[in-house]
Amino acid sequence: MSRNFTAASSQYLYSNLPILGATARPCTFHCWFLPVTATDNGVLMMSLTAGTTNWRQLGLRSSDGKLGAQERELAGASGIATSTGVLTNGVWAACGAVWTSAASRTVWLNGAKDTNTDAVALTDSFDTFRIGGQANYATGDIAEAAAWNVGLDDAEMVALAKGYSPDMIRPAAHVAYWKLFGNAASEADYWKNKYDLAIVNAPAKAAHPRIYYPTGAF
């Protein structure tokens, strides 16, 4: 089961551990999102340096229903890759971002990618990771959020969009994997690093997207 976030309640999950904090590009974010209103902006996943504008985020753009993968540096410069496609109200969407280099980032929506090449001198010294937003909060259900310390290739991003579990995609480069079942007082990181997320303002439990989990023979 996923977590249901309401922007008006400023609901989010976070860790103050340096998830991807010291990791320079490339890296990858991916999650599933079911928007209530796709034209409301809101952040799904983000790495940031607390109290600054130094961040890397995957989220909905305001008003146009598109997904954006944006990096913003302390000096104020930013670059955003914007999806061609749009999200649909009440429909699960596979949302991803591959942060390739200072001048290349791609956003992935349901297996289709768009790229931005603006140069952004981001400082990779993040000390916080959030799901659900900061200032711009998401409204909708988020599940199966994961991060890698490599840039996943196109085939891998397409596989994630088909519903394959992050467990089955480049596990050697996994950093964190939050299924977001919504059952516990914190959200467990199912990967070895144990980057469990604290819950703020009680996002509710909601239905989960379809996922192909790995399983062995019996």
Partner: protein, 244 residues
């Protein structure tokens, strides 16, 4: 008790082929040996290829097989396992729509089936070559998210994936078979088991030994095929497929 003789005694008088009368005593000797052999076979122990076996005193149950203690004493035991496959909730290969959703309950992986909308889960496998045309029994291990009363209803169907025949671009499940009423246990969190049976042949989409297949499990939440008056989630923990 007579023992099994290792040789038939020789007659004390040889008889030629000229029609001479055989001594009655000799016939009696021969008869005694035959009786001894019969008795040994019936009551045991008796040797086969140099090993003396003691058989059980009565027949076993249907499907039993003989078990040895390694010293020649035989007994009946449950026979070799029939065709058997099992999956837990992580084995689900969800359909594109109306799928049961993954969840956990106290660290148990479960699939949540909605209480008002029919939802499905699909499990894939190969029917073992040992399948002996006995039909299939599907066992579902189910818990209920909140309720302790009422009854749920599940259905199952099979899709045979016969080689060089079925186009897997489209689904091809045979008609569903029905579970009996699944009564919620009095304690929420307890697990109950229900079965759905298939007869060999068209009922199981003519699936044969050694063929790939998919098994679809559906909660019939809207009660099309049987009463389902529980409006909250059912949780599927395990699915077992065995030969009936």
């Amino acid at each position: 008790m007579a023992s099994f003789p290792t040789t038939i005694k020789s007659f004390t008088t040889k008889v030629d082929g000229a029609g001479k009368t055989i001594s009655a005593a000799h016939v009696n000797d021969l008869q005694s040996e035959v009786v001894a052999i019969e008795t040994a076979i019936i009551t045991g122990p008796f040797p086969i290829r140099g090993v003396s076996y003691t058989w059980p005193a009565a027949d076993g149950s249907s499907g039993n097989a003989l078990l040895t203690n390694g010293a020649g004493t035989l007994s009946w035991a449950v026979g070799p396992a029939k065709v058997f496959l099992q999956w837990d909730a992580l084995g689900n290969r969800p359909p594109a729509t109306a799928y049961a959703t993954p969840d956990t309950r106290n660290a148990h992986a479960v699939l949540d089936f909605d209480g008002t909308t029919d939802e499905e889960a699909i499990f894939a496998g190969v029917l073992p070559v040992a399948y002996a045309s006995g039909g299939l029994t599907i066992e579902l291990y189910i818990a209920f998210t909140t309720v302790t009363t009422g009854s749920a209803h599940f259905q199952a169907s099979i899709e045979r994936i016969d080689l060089s025949s079925l186009d897997i671009d489209a689904d091809s499940f045979a008609a569903v078979n029905e579970s009996a009423a699944i009564t919620a246990p009095a304690t929420c969190g307890m697990v109950v088991k229900t079965t759905i049976t298939f007869t060999d042949g068209a009922d199981m989409d003519s699936l044969a030994a050694g063929e790939a297949f998919r098994l679809k499990i559906r909660r019939d939440a809207d009660g099309t095929g049987g009463t389902d008056d529980i409006t909250t989630d059912c949780e599927l923990l395990r699915v077992v497929l065995r030969e009936t």
